[in-house]
Symmetry: C2
Subunit: 354 residues, 2 copies
């Protein structure tokens, strides 16, 4: 599907592409236990809500494999400890707890007989989550096709491609599907400060895919909407609340407001695993504060005066009112989102159960 | 006034602070002729619309001083050539052509007798422009005081302080005046990609002034308006059209739109020298496209994949409808701006003539 694998299970190891080294170096890392996996997520060696979920599930499979437990009860206690470590790695993306919950649900099935069977079930569920991520995103991209005009200029924020998922991508998966269906797109790539996932990762993926693109600074989106035709914006998400409020990479809310003023459609690509019906609205979504160094430095280059205070929220919340539609693998949700999202989540879960 | 001088005339040289080396190094450069001055402006060794104007005027004084002309006619021809070089250095800020025009108007006075007197007049006018810049900004900051509440959180974009002017600053001059008048301010400093004038220069100036501040990425302004009280935004400008449309550093328009949605007052600080009544609206303001390297690199750090295309407009235009008020040394202009700006420009010129 892609010339690179963001994550794979390899001989009892989890092998990930170290995204901090892109676009200049392709470096794979082998993670051997759940501590490695938690650190890889926390330090953003891997990032992107769907990928975080899949890698965390593999982390739990690693914990199961390495456990010295003699009984199912001991093994499940080991898994609980691993879940505690993995779920604390990053707070905002709900996919992390969703994926860990799926593995626990599977391993906790009392009908599974014995330690080895539980270990196998953990790995099988992790691999299932990874496989489903690819098929879900293919379907999501297909579902979006009627919304994407031909000859379209698209603004995209952060990275939501194969690198943010197990494969294909969410918002970038939509762009890819439209491209592969013969629609001519030009992508204006928000560079996405502070970590520059757009400039580093999305530009790299679009080049690999052969999709025309131009990198812009985040503050320029309004200028381009005002001075040339921008047909749509499409972004991913880290968590969608029941009412449609959406947490995504910092800068998403500004882009949504600017699009709203210009009446440019603003779409959120959301696998149903990213929709958290347990949270009524965006106020309840925890927003991660990341280290100041992400803002004060770019690589080894120190930007600010030494000692300068920085606020570095990694995400923001875009209220549902500024979102034109939320595109999932189970269909497209339109406002009012309370009803439409609940229906799609139900359909999404039914799809998984099949 | 400040612990540093952005520009000074020193023994027949123009000495400038090399702003590309801030905040980590204080390096002064001596410019010896108009070619040096044009390069310093083009390469952004000096930047900020008012400072560009003052430095360009000094460049013309240098050209006069170095001219080997034997007659007034030859000297004025040399000055015309220098004006051509200097005015081409950067297109957007109107202060550049405004300042050069003032020197030319002075040196072109047929009542001046002889070559040496013309040379003296060129220098005198340049020094007058520089002195006036300081007094204009002090007055502008004073005029703004009624608009600034106590205990205010302010978002500021780019750099508009002593570094962007001969001294004091425009938008930052307002913040400074409020601070010195005992109003407790906290400044959220937009880092201002791509050149990071906020993170590099504004953070440095605010530290020197002892004004509390926090650096944020440009995309975070909406998040802070949504989650905490932001009382106002204040920015500078490179050119204000007759109808109030304002060209300023890229990212200003996004900030204005985000402020508008949140009903946060959005103020533009504009010495009347920055108001261009000859231009009816923002459509006619030339927007400079700067080198791609400003986006692809931070210092020596290469961000994007090699060969990635970049669009790098240095400025954007904020339509007058999103500007709460335009603050000048001659008073505060409110909408409709056609009438209010014309009146203030008249009063500003009268102030200069006094």
């Amino acid at each position: 599907l892609t010339p690179y694998a963001s994550v794979e299970w390899a001989d009892g190891l989890v092998r990930v592409l170290d995204q901090r080294r892109l676009p200049h170096e392709i470096v794979y890392r082998d993670l051997v236990d759940e501590g490695d996996v938690a650190a890889a997520i926390r330090d953003m060696m891997v990032r992107g809500a769907p990928l975080i979920g899949a890698v965390a599930a593999y982390g739990l499979a690693l914990a199961a494999r390495r456990s010295a437990a003699a009984t199912p009860g001991e093994l499940l206690a080991d898994l609980d400890r691993a879940v505690g470590m993995l779920s604390a790695a990053r707070p905002t993306a709900v996919n992390l707890t969703w994926a860990l919950g799926r593995v626990l649900h599977r391993t906790g099935d009392p009908s599974i007989g014995g330690v080895e069977a539980i270990k196998w079930a953990a790995l099988d569920e992790a691999q299932r989550i990874a496989r489903e991520d690819v098929s879900v995103n293919l379907q999501l991209g297909h579902n979006a096709l009627p919304l994407i005009p031909d000859d379209a200029t698209v603004i995209h924020h952060c990275n939501t491609g194969g690198l943010a998922t197990v494969g294909v991508g969410t918002a970038l998966g939509i762009i890819r599907a439209a491209h592969e269906n013969g629609k001519r797109l030009h992508v204006l790539v928000d560079e996405t400060r502070p970590r520059l996932q757009g400039a580093r990762l999305t530009a790299w993926e679009l080049r690999e895919l052969g999709i025309p693109h131009t990198v812009i600074v985040d503050g320029a989106s309004g200028h381009f909407m005002r001075t040339k035709v921008v047909d749509l914006c499409v972004v991913g998400c880290d968590r969608v609340a029941a009412n449609g409020d959406t947490a995504n990479k910092i800068g998403t809310y500004n882009l949504a407001l600017v699009a709203s003023v210009h009446r440019v459609p603003f779409y959120v690509a959301a696998p149903t695993s990213t929709i958290d019906l347990a949270i009524p609205n965006g106020e309840a979504i925890p927003i991660e504060e990341r280290p100041a160094r992400e803002v004060t430095h770019v690589g080894e280059e120190w930007i600010t005066p030494k000692g300068t205070l920085v606020a570095n929220p990694a995400f923001d919340v875009t209220p549902a009112a500024y979102i034109t539609a939320i595109i999932t693998e189970a269909g497209i949700a339109y406002p009012p989102y309370d009803a439409s999202l609940a229906a799609l989540v139900k359909r999404g879960q039914a799809g998984v159960a099949r």
